[in-house]
Subunit: 249 residues, 2 copies
Amino acid sequence: MQRYFSNEALEVNQQIQLEKDDNHHIVRVMRGKVDDEVIIVDSTNIAYKAKIEIIEDNVANLRIINALENQQTELPIQVTIACGLSKNDKIDLIVQKATECGMNEFIPLALERDVVKWKGNKISNRIERLERISKEAAEQCHRNVIPEISHLSTIDTLQKEAGNYKHKLIAYEETAKKGQHGQLKETLKEVQAGDNLIIVFGSEGGLTELEVAKLKEVGYIECSLGPRILRAETAPIYALSAMSYHLEV
Amino acid sequence: MQRYFSNEALEVNQQIQLEKDDNHHIVRVMRGKVDDEVIIVDSTNIAYKAKIEIIEDNVANLRIINALENQQTELPIQVTIACGLSKNDKIDLIVQKATECGMNEFIPLALERDVVKWKGNKISNRIERLERISKEAAEQCHRNVIPEISHLSTIDTLQKEAGNYKHKLIAYEETAKKGQHGQLKETLKEVQAGDNLIIVFGSEGGLTELEVAKLKEVGYIECSLGPRILRAETAPIYALSAMSYHLEV
Protein backbone atom coordinates (compact mmCIF):
# COMPACT_ATOMS: atom_id res chain seq x y z
CA MET A 1 0.00 0.00 0.00
CA GLN A 2 1.34 3.45 -0.91
CA ARG A 3 2.70 5.39 2.07
CA TYR A 4 2.69 9.16 2.67
CA PHE A 5 3.91 11.36 5.52
CA SER A 6 1.84 14.10 7.15
CA ASN A 7 3.13 17.03 9.22
CA GLU A 8 0.10 16.81 11.52
CA ALA A 9 -0.67 14.61 14.52
CA LEU A 10 -3.64 12.63 13.21
CA GLU A 11 -6.66 10.98 14.82
CA VAL A 12 -8.96 8.19 13.72
CA ASN A 13 -11.95 9.50 11.73
CA GLN A 14 -10.24 12.80 10.89
CA GLN A 15 -10.51 14.01 7.30
CA ILE A 16 -7.26 15.31 5.77
CA GLN A 17 -5.67 16.46 2.56
CA LEU A 18 -2.07 15.66 1.74
CA GLU A 19 0.62 18.23 0.93
CA LYS A 20 0.78 19.49 -2.64
CA ASP A 21 3.41 17.02 -3.96
CA ASP A 22 1.82 14.04 -2.23
CA ASN A 23 -1.63 15.04 -3.46
CA HIS A 24 -0.26 15.20 -6.99
CA HIS A 25 1.26 11.76 -6.45
CA ILE A 26 -1.94 10.15 -5.18
CA VAL A 27 -4.24 11.76 -7.79
CA ARG A 28 -2.04 11.93 -10.88
CA VAL A 29 0.73 9.35 -10.49
CA MET A 30 -1.16 6.61 -8.64
CA ARG A 31 -4.48 7.60 -10.31
CA GLY A 32 -6.22 7.12 -6.96
CA LYS A 33 -10.00 6.57 -6.91
CA VAL A 34 -12.64 6.90 -4.19
CA ASP A 35 -12.31 4.05 -1.63
CA ASP A 36 -8.64 3.39 -2.49
CA GLU A 37 -6.60 2.83 0.68
CA VAL A 38 -3.18 4.26 1.57
CA ILE A 39 -0.99 4.50 4.65
CA ILE A 40 -0.38 7.89 6.23
CA VAL A 41 2.35 8.30 8.85
CA ASP A 42 1.68 11.28 11.11
CA SER A 43 4.06 13.71 12.86
CA THR A 44 4.26 11.40 15.90
CA ASN A 45 5.43 8.51 13.67
CA ILE A 46 2.18 6.57 13.95
CA ALA A 47 1.06 4.85 10.74
CA TYR A 48 -2.66 5.00 9.89
CA LYS A 49 -4.71 3.34 7.20
CA ALA A 50 -6.68 5.99 5.28
CA LYS A 51 -9.24 5.88 2.48
CA ILE A 52 -9.90 8.32 -0.35
CA GLU A 53 -13.37 9.76 0.36
CA ILE A 54 -13.79 12.39 -2.35
CA ILE A 55 -11.64 13.76 -5.15
CA GLU A 56 -12.64 17.32 -6.06
CA ASP A 57 -10.72 19.67 -8.38
CA ASN A 58 -7.79 17.21 -8.36
CA VAL A 59 -7.56 17.30 -4.56
CA ALA A 60 -8.01 14.03 -2.66
CA ASN A 61 -9.82 14.16 0.68
CA LEU A 62 -8.88 11.23 2.84
CA ARG A 63 -10.50 9.76 5.94
CA ILE A 64 -8.30 8.19 8.63
CA ILE A 65 -9.61 4.66 9.26
CA ASN A 66 -7.43 3.14 11.96
CA ALA A 67 -3.94 3.11 13.41
CA LEU A 68 -1.79 0.25 12.11
CA GLU A 69 0.01 -2.02 14.48
CA ASN A 70 3.58 -0.87 14.93
CA GLN A 71 5.54 -2.63 12.20
CA GLN A 72 8.91 -2.01 13.85
CA THR A 73 10.75 -0.75 10.82
CA GLU A 74 13.12 1.53 12.76
CA LEU A 75 16.61 0.60 13.91
CA PRO A 76 16.73 0.27 17.72
CA ILE A 77 19.41 3.00 17.84
CA GLN A 78 19.41 6.42 16.23
CA VAL A 79 22.21 6.61 13.68
CA THR A 80 23.58 9.87 12.32
CA ILE A 81 25.59 9.68 9.09
CA ALA A 82 27.97 12.65 8.63
CA CYS A 83 29.55 12.69 5.15
CA GLY A 84 31.97 14.83 3.20
CA LEU A 85 30.52 16.46 0.09
CA SER A 86 30.65 13.99 -2.79
CA LYS A 87 29.48 14.76 -6.28
CA ASN A 88 25.72 15.35 -6.42
CA ASP A 89 24.63 11.96 -7.73
CA LYS A 90 26.79 10.18 -5.12
CA ILE A 91 25.44 12.15 -2.18
CA ASP A 92 21.89 11.58 -3.49
CA LEU A 93 22.64 7.86 -3.57
CA ILE A 94 24.03 7.93 -0.02
CA VAL A 95 20.91 9.62 1.34
CA GLN A 96 18.53 7.32 -0.53
CA LYS A 97 20.29 4.10 0.44
CA ALA A 98 21.09 5.19 4.02
CA THR A 99 17.38 5.98 4.47
CA GLU A 100 16.52 2.47 3.31
CA CYS A 101 19.09 1.07 5.71
CA GLY A 102 17.67 2.92 8.75
CA MET A 103 19.61 6.21 9.09
CA ASN A 104 18.01 8.72 11.44
CA GLU A 105 19.89 11.92 10.53
CA PHE A 106 22.22 13.03 7.74
CA ILE A 107 24.85 15.74 8.21
CA PRO A 108 26.57 17.10 5.06
CA LEU A 109 30.14 17.96 6.02
CA ALA A 110 32.42 20.54 4.39
CA LEU A 111 35.86 18.86 4.56
CA GLU A 112 39.28 19.96 3.37
CA ARG A 113 39.57 17.38 0.59
CA ASP A 114 35.99 17.57 -0.74
CA VAL A 115 35.97 17.84 -4.52
CA VAL A 116 32.63 19.66 -4.36
CA LYS A 117 31.89 22.87 -2.47
CA TRP A 118 28.42 24.02 -1.49
CA LYS A 119 28.15 27.81 -1.60
CA GLY A 120 25.45 30.48 -1.34
CA ASN A 121 22.04 29.46 -2.71
CA LYS A 122 23.38 26.04 -3.59
CA ILE A 123 23.38 25.06 0.08
CA SER A 124 19.63 25.39 0.64
CA ASN A 125 18.86 23.90 -2.80
CA ARG A 126 21.01 20.87 -2.07
CA ILE A 127 19.49 20.38 1.37
CA GLU A 128 15.94 20.65 0.02
CA ARG A 129 16.82 18.10 -2.65
CA LEU A 130 18.19 15.67 -0.05
CA GLU A 131 15.07 16.20 2.08
CA ARG A 132 12.91 15.16 -0.86
CA ILE A 133 15.08 12.11 -1.49
CA SER A 134 14.98 10.97 2.14
CA LYS A 135 11.19 11.46 2.29
CA GLU A 136 10.60 9.45 -0.88
CA ALA A 137 12.96 6.69 0.24
CA ALA A 138 11.29 6.53 3.67
CA GLU A 139 7.87 6.14 2.01
CA GLN A 140 9.17 3.51 -0.36
CA CYS A 141 10.83 1.33 2.30
CA HIS A 142 7.91 1.53 4.74
CA ARG A 143 9.56 3.58 7.48
CA ASN A 144 7.67 5.61 10.06
CA VAL A 145 10.43 8.23 10.36
CA ILE A 146 11.84 10.54 7.69
CA PRO A 147 15.58 11.02 8.33
CA GLU A 148 16.39 14.62 9.08
CA ILE A 149 18.83 16.41 6.78
CA SER A 150 20.93 18.69 8.95
CA HIS A 151 22.45 22.05 7.95
CA LEU A 152 25.90 22.06 6.33
CA SER A 153 28.46 21.40 9.07
CA THR A 154 32.22 21.25 9.62
CA ILE A 155 34.60 19.26 11.78
CA ASP A 156 34.56 22.19 14.22
CA THR A 157 30.76 21.94 14.54
CA LEU A 158 31.07 18.20 15.18
CA GLN A 159 33.64 18.95 17.88
CA LYS A 160 31.25 21.37 19.60
CA GLU A 161 28.33 18.96 19.31
CA ALA A 162 30.24 15.85 20.41
CA GLY A 163 28.29 15.74 23.67
CA ASN A 164 25.06 15.09 21.74
CA TYR A 165 26.11 11.60 20.71
CA LYS A 166 26.77 8.61 22.97
CA HIS A 167 28.80 6.60 20.42
CA LYS A 168 31.09 8.38 17.98
CA LEU A 169 32.91 6.64 15.13
CA ILE A 170 35.10 7.66 12.19
CA ALA A 171 35.21 5.38 9.16
CA TYR A 172 38.89 5.78 8.36
CA GLU A 173 40.69 4.08 5.48
CA GLU A 174 44.04 4.19 7.24
CA THR A 175 42.67 2.02 10.08
CA ALA A 176 41.52 -0.51 7.51
CA LYS A 177 44.95 -0.48 5.84
CA LYS A 178 46.60 -1.38 9.15
CA GLY A 179 44.39 -4.50 9.25
CA GLN A 180 42.63 -3.43 12.46
CA HIS A 181 39.05 -4.35 11.72
CA GLY A 182 37.50 -5.01 15.14
CA GLN A 183 36.32 -1.59 16.37
CA LEU A 184 32.90 -1.43 14.70
CA LYS A 185 31.88 -4.72 16.30
CA GLU A 186 33.29 -3.61 19.67
CA THR A 187 31.16 -0.48 19.56
CA LEU A 188 28.01 -2.29 18.44
CA LYS A 189 28.39 -4.78 21.30
CA GLU A 190 28.16 -1.84 23.69
CA VAL A 191 25.16 -0.02 22.25
CA GLN A 192 21.79 -0.29 23.94
CA ALA A 193 18.33 0.29 22.49
CA GLY A 194 17.61 4.02 22.40
CA ASP A 195 21.29 5.06 22.20
CA ASN A 196 22.43 7.41 19.50
CA LEU A 197 25.51 6.93 17.36
CA ILE A 198 27.27 9.17 14.86
CA ILE A 199 29.66 7.92 12.20
CA VAL A 200 31.78 10.26 10.07
CA PHE A 201 32.85 9.51 6.47
CA GLY A 202 35.18 11.40 4.15
CA SER A 203 34.22 12.18 0.58
CA GLU A 204 36.23 10.75 -2.37
CA GLY A 205 39.34 12.54 -1.09
CA GLY A 206 39.12 11.03 2.37
CA LEU A 207 39.68 12.70 5.73
CA THR A 208 42.92 14.53 6.56
CA GLU A 209 45.01 13.49 9.55
CA LEU A 210 44.16 16.80 11.21
CA GLU A 211 40.42 16.25 10.78
CA VAL A 212 40.72 12.77 12.30
CA ALA A 213 42.84 14.14 15.17
CA LYS A 214 40.26 16.86 15.91
CA LEU A 215 37.48 14.29 16.12
CA LYS A 216 39.55 11.93 18.28
CA GLU A 217 40.15 14.83 20.71
CA VAL A 218 36.44 14.85 21.52
CA GLY A 219 36.00 11.09 21.85
CA TYR A 220 35.54 9.82 18.30
CA ILE A 221 37.06 6.37 17.65
CA GLU A 222 38.46 5.21 14.29
CA CYS A 223 36.94 2.10 12.77
CA SER A 224 37.46 0.00 9.67
CA LEU A 225 34.75 -1.25 7.34
CA GLY A 226 36.67 -4.33 6.30
CA PRO A 227 39.72 -4.96 4.14
CA ARG A 228 38.48 -3.64 0.79
CA ILE A 229 38.66 0.07 -0.05
CA LEU A 230 35.03 1.15 -0.35
CA ARG A 231 33.99 4.13 -2.46
CA ALA A 232 32.67 7.18 -0.61
CA GLU A 233 29.07 6.30 -1.41
CA THR A 234 29.42 2.61 -0.49
CA ALA A 235 30.91 3.06 2.98
CA PRO A 236 27.80 4.48 4.71
CA ILE A 237 25.62 1.73 3.22
CA TYR A 238 28.09 -0.90 4.47
CA ALA A 239 28.13 0.64 7.97
CA LEU A 240 24.33 0.82 8.26
CA SER A 241 23.90 -2.71 6.86
CA ALA A 242 26.37 -3.97 9.46
CA MET A 243 24.46 -2.15 12.22
CA SER A 244 21.15 -3.56 11.01
CA TYR A 245 22.65 -7.06 10.78
CA HIS A 246 24.09 -6.78 14.31
CA LEU A 247 20.99 -5.28 15.92
CA GLU A 248 17.98 -6.45 13.91
CA VAL A 249 18.69 -9.70 12.09
CA MET B 1 49.01 2.87 -6.23
CA GLN B 2 47.00 2.19 -9.41
CA ARG B 3 46.07 -1.48 -9.84
CA TYR B 4 45.67 -3.49 -13.06
CA PHE B 5 44.81 -7.10 -13.80
CA SER B 6 46.80 -9.32 -16.18
CA ASN B 7 45.59 -12.53 -17.83
CA GLU B 8 49.07 -14.07 -17.53
CA ALA B 9 50.81 -15.84 -14.65
CA LEU B 10 53.67 -13.43 -13.94
CA GLU B 11 57.19 -13.78 -12.55
CA VAL B 12 59.56 -11.35 -10.89
CA ASN B 13 61.80 -9.58 -13.44
CA GLN B 14 59.49 -10.33 -16.34
CA GLN B 15 58.75 -7.51 -18.77
CA ILE B 16 55.11 -7.10 -19.76
CA GLN B 17 52.67 -4.89 -21.57
CA LEU B 18 49.12 -4.39 -20.35
CA GLU B 19 45.99 -5.06 -22.38
CA LYS B 20 44.83 -2.34 -24.74
CA ASP B 21 42.36 -0.57 -22.39
CA ASP B 22 44.70 -0.77 -19.42
CA ASN B 23 47.62 0.49 -21.50
CA HIS B 24 45.47 3.44 -22.57
CA HIS B 25 44.62 4.05 -18.91
CA ILE B 26 48.23 3.98 -17.71
CA VAL B 27 49.63 6.11 -20.58
CA ARG B 28 46.78 8.52 -21.32
CA VAL B 29 44.57 8.72 -18.23
CA MET B 30 47.22 8.38 -15.51
CA ARG B 31 49.89 10.05 -17.71
CA GLY B 32 52.39 7.45 -16.50
CA LYS B 33 56.12 8.20 -16.79
CA VAL B 34 59.22 6.02 -16.73
CA ASP B 35 59.90 4.74 -13.18
CA ASP B 36 56.26 5.20 -12.06
CA GLU B 37 55.10 2.22 -10.01
CA VAL B 38 51.82 0.32 -10.28
CA ILE B 39 50.36 -2.91 -8.93
CA ILE B 40 49.64 -5.75 -11.33
CA VAL B 41 47.55 -8.71 -10.21
CA ASP B 42 48.25 -11.81 -12.28
CA SER B 43 46.02 -14.70 -13.36
CA THR B 44 46.85 -16.61 -10.16
CA ASN B 45 45.61 -13.67 -8.02
CA ILE B 46 49.11 -12.67 -6.89
CA ALA B 47 49.72 -8.92 -6.68
CA TYR B 48 53.08 -7.62 -7.93
CA LYS B 49 54.71 -4.22 -7.80
CA ALA B 50 55.78 -3.18 -11.31
CA LYS B 51 57.61 -0.19 -12.75
CA ILE B 52 57.25 1.55 -16.10
CA GLU B 53 60.55 0.91 -17.92
CA ILE B 54 59.98 2.43 -21.35
CA ILE B 55 57.08 4.12 -23.10
CA GLU B 56 57.31 3.71 -26.89
CA ASP B 57 54.59 4.63 -29.39
CA ASN B 58 52.15 5.10 -26.53
CA VAL B 59 52.77 1.58 -25.25
CA ALA B 60 54.10 1.16 -21.70
CA ASN B 61 56.58 -1.65 -21.05
CA LEU B 62 56.57 -2.63 -17.42
CA ARG B 63 59.07 -4.64 -15.35
CA ILE B 64 57.77 -6.83 -12.50
CA ILE B 65 59.70 -5.82 -9.36
CA ASN B 66 58.43 -8.04 -6.56
CA ALA B 67 55.39 -9.88 -5.26
CA LEU B 68 53.48 -7.93 -2.63
CA GLU B 69 52.61 -9.49 0.66
CA ASN B 70 49.12 -10.90 0.54
CA GLN B 71 46.89 -8.05 1.57
CA GLN B 72 43.91 -10.31 2.34
CA THR B 73 41.28 -8.32 0.55
CA GLU B 74 39.11 -11.33 -0.30
CA LEU B 75 36.15 -12.56 1.74
CA PRO B 76 36.96 -15.91 3.40
CA ILE B 77 33.99 -17.48 1.58
CA GLN B 78 33.09 -17.36 -2.09
CA VAL B 79 29.80 -15.54 -2.50
CA THR B 80 27.66 -15.79 -5.64
CA ILE B 81 25.02 -13.10 -6.13
CA ALA B 82 22.17 -14.19 -8.44
CA CYS B 83 19.85 -11.30 -9.34
CA GLY B 84 16.76 -10.75 -11.42
CA LEU B 85 17.17 -8.32 -14.32
CA SER B 86 16.77 -4.77 -13.07
CA LYS B 87 16.98 -1.70 -15.26
CA ASN B 88 20.47 -1.22 -16.68
CA ASP B 89 21.73 1.46 -14.31
CA LYS B 90 20.52 -0.57 -11.30
CA ILE B 91 22.20 -3.80 -12.36
CA ASP B 92 25.39 -1.83 -13.10
CA LEU B 93 25.24 -0.43 -9.58
CA ILE B 94 24.68 -3.89 -8.09
CA VAL B 95 27.74 -5.32 -9.86
CA GLN B 96 29.96 -2.35 -8.97
CA LYS B 97 28.97 -2.25 -5.29
CA ALA B 98 28.86 -6.03 -4.85
CA THR B 99 32.41 -6.19 -6.26
CA GLU B 100 33.53 -3.64 -3.68
CA CYS B 101 31.82 -5.69 -0.98
CA GLY B 102 33.59 -8.93 -1.91
CA MET B 103 31.31 -10.82 -4.33
CA ASN B 104 32.98 -13.68 -6.18
CA GLU B 105 30.49 -14.39 -8.97
CA PHE B 106 27.44 -12.66 -10.42
CA ILE B 107 24.60 -14.54 -12.11
CA PRO B 108 22.03 -12.47 -14.05
CA LEU B 109 18.68 -14.23 -13.70
CA ALA B 110 15.72 -14.11 -16.08
CA LEU B 111 12.72 -14.16 -13.72
CA GLU B 112 9.00 -14.04 -14.35
CA ARG B 113 8.47 -10.55 -12.92
CA ASP B 114 11.56 -8.86 -14.38
CA VAL B 115 10.69 -5.50 -15.93
CA VAL B 116 13.64 -5.86 -18.29
CA LYS B 117 14.29 -8.70 -20.74
CA TRP B 118 17.69 -9.51 -22.23
CA LYS B 119 17.35 -10.84 -25.77
CA GLY B 120 19.58 -11.71 -28.72
CA ASN B 121 22.69 -9.53 -29.04
CA LYS B 122 21.75 -7.61 -25.94
CA ILE B 123 22.73 -10.57 -23.78
CA SER B 124 26.41 -10.61 -24.72
CA ASN B 125 26.58 -6.79 -24.74
CA ARG B 126 25.15 -6.60 -21.26
CA ILE B 127 27.48 -9.31 -19.96
CA GLU B 128 30.55 -7.63 -21.48
CA ARG B 129 29.47 -4.35 -19.90
CA LEU B 130 29.11 -5.98 -16.47
CA GLU B 131 32.53 -7.64 -16.91
CA ARG B 132 34.09 -4.21 -17.50
CA ILE B 133 32.32 -2.80 -14.44
CA SER B 134 33.43 -5.63 -12.17
CA LYS B 135 37.03 -5.37 -13.41
CA GLU B 136 37.19 -1.61 -12.82
CA ALA B 137 35.59 -1.93 -9.40
CA ALA B 138 38.01 -4.74 -8.43
CA GLU B 139 40.97 -2.53 -9.42
CA GLN B 140 39.59 0.43 -7.55
CA CYS B 141 38.91 -1.40 -4.28
CA HIS B 142 42.26 -3.25 -4.26
CA ARG B 143 40.99 -6.76 -4.80
CA ASN B 144 43.08 -9.62 -6.19
CA VAL B 145 40.11 -11.31 -7.84
CA ILE B 146 37.79 -10.02 -10.55
CA PRO B 147 34.29 -11.38 -9.91
CA GLU B 148 33.12 -13.57 -12.74
CA ILE B 149 29.97 -12.56 -14.61
CA SER B 150 28.11 -15.74 -15.46
CA HIS B 151 25.89 -16.37 -18.49
CA LEU B 152 22.20 -15.46 -18.29
CA SER B 153 20.47 -18.08 -16.13
CA THR B 154 17.01 -19.11 -14.95
CA ILE B 155 15.52 -20.67 -11.84
CA ASP B 156 15.66 -24.02 -13.66
CA THR B 157 19.43 -23.60 -14.17
CA LEU B 158 19.85 -22.79 -10.49
CA GLN B 159 17.88 -25.93 -9.65
CA LYS B 160 20.20 -28.05 -11.78
CA GLU B 161 23.33 -26.41 -10.36
CA ALA B 162 22.21 -26.50 -6.73
CA GLY B 163 24.86 -29.10 -5.92
CA ASN B 164 27.61 -26.61 -6.75
CA TYR B 165 26.90 -24.48 -3.68
CA LYS B 166 27.22 -25.48 -0.05
CA HIS B 167 25.02 -22.69 1.36
CA LYS B 168 21.96 -21.52 -0.57
CA LEU B 169 19.83 -18.54 0.42
CA ILE B 170 16.90 -16.60 -1.05
CA ALA B 171 16.45 -12.98 0.01
CA TYR B 172 12.67 -12.97 0.19
CA GLU B 173 10.55 -9.97 1.14
CA GLU B 174 7.70 -12.13 2.41
CA THR B 175 10.00 -13.65 5.07
CA ALA B 176 10.88 -10.13 6.22
CA LYS B 177 7.22 -9.16 6.37
CA LYS B 178 6.53 -12.10 8.72
CA GLY B 179 9.14 -10.63 11.10
CA GLN B 180 11.40 -13.69 10.83
CA HIS B 181 14.83 -12.11 10.60
CA GLY B 182 17.19 -14.72 12.06
CA GLN B 183 18.09 -16.97 9.10
CA LEU B 184 20.99 -15.00 7.59
CA LYS B 185 22.83 -15.01 10.92
CA GLU B 186 22.08 -18.73 11.41
CA THR B 187 23.62 -19.52 8.03
CA LEU B 188 26.67 -17.31 8.57
CA LYS B 189 27.34 -19.00 11.91
CA GLU B 190 27.65 -22.28 10.02
CA VAL B 191 29.94 -21.20 7.19
CA GLN B 192 33.60 -22.12 7.25
CA ALA B 193 36.50 -20.49 5.43
CA GLY B 194 36.61 -21.73 1.84
CA ASP B 195 32.87 -22.54 1.67
CA ASN B 196 30.79 -21.19 -1.16
CA LEU B 197 27.42 -19.53 -0.76
CA ILE B 198 24.81 -18.39 -3.27
CA ILE B 199 22.09 -15.87 -2.51
CA VAL B 200 19.21 -15.16 -4.90
CA PHE B 201 17.46 -11.78 -5.25
CA GLY B 202 14.39 -10.77 -7.24
CA SER B 203 14.40 -7.66 -9.41
CA GLU B 204 12.00 -4.75 -8.69
CA GLY B 205 9.02 -7.08 -9.17
CA GLY B 206 10.27 -9.62 -6.64
CA LEU B 207 10.25 -13.41 -6.85
CA THR B 208 7.05 -15.38 -7.48
CA GLU B 209 5.89 -18.00 -5.00
CA LEU B 210 6.57 -20.67 -7.62
CA GLU B 211 10.16 -19.47 -8.12
CA VAL B 212 10.74 -19.57 -4.37
CA ALA B 213 9.16 -23.02 -4.12
CA LYS B 214 11.38 -24.37 -6.92
CA LEU B 215 14.50 -23.11 -5.14
CA LYS B 216 13.38 -24.47 -1.77
CA GLU B 217 12.90 -27.89 -3.41
CA VAL B 218 16.66 -28.07 -4.00
CA GLY B 219 17.74 -26.84 -0.57
CA TYR B 220 17.55 -23.05 -0.76
CA ILE B 221 16.46 -21.36 2.49
CA GLU B 222 14.52 -18.07 2.68
CA CYS B 223 16.11 -15.26 4.65
CA SER B 224 15.23 -11.71 5.58
CA LEU B 225 17.48 -8.68 5.26
CA GLY B 226 15.87 -6.83 8.15
CA PRO B 227 12.54 -5.08 8.66
CA ARG B 228 12.77 -2.36 5.99
CA ILE B 229 11.82 -3.06 2.38
CA LEU B 230 15.09 -2.65 0.46
CA ARG B 231 15.15 -1.73 -3.21
CA ALA B 232 16.36 -4.40 -5.63
CA GLU B 233 19.79 -2.76 -5.94
CA THR B 234 20.22 -2.22 -2.19
CA ALA B 235 19.51 -5.78 -1.05
CA PRO B 236 22.69 -7.44 -2.44
CA ILE B 237 24.85 -4.67 -0.94
CA TYR B 238 23.17 -5.17 2.44
CA ALA B 239 23.70 -8.95 2.26
CA LEU B 240 27.39 -8.70 1.34
CA SER B 241 28.04 -6.00 3.95
CA ALA B 242 26.45 -8.24 6.58
CA MET B 243 28.64 -11.16 5.44
CA SER B 244 31.77 -9.01 5.55
CA TYR B 245 30.81 -7.68 8.98
CA HIS B 246 30.20 -11.20 10.29
CA LEU B 247 33.31 -12.77 8.78
CA GLU B 248 35.93 -10.03 8.46
CA VAL B 249 35.30 -7.23 10.96
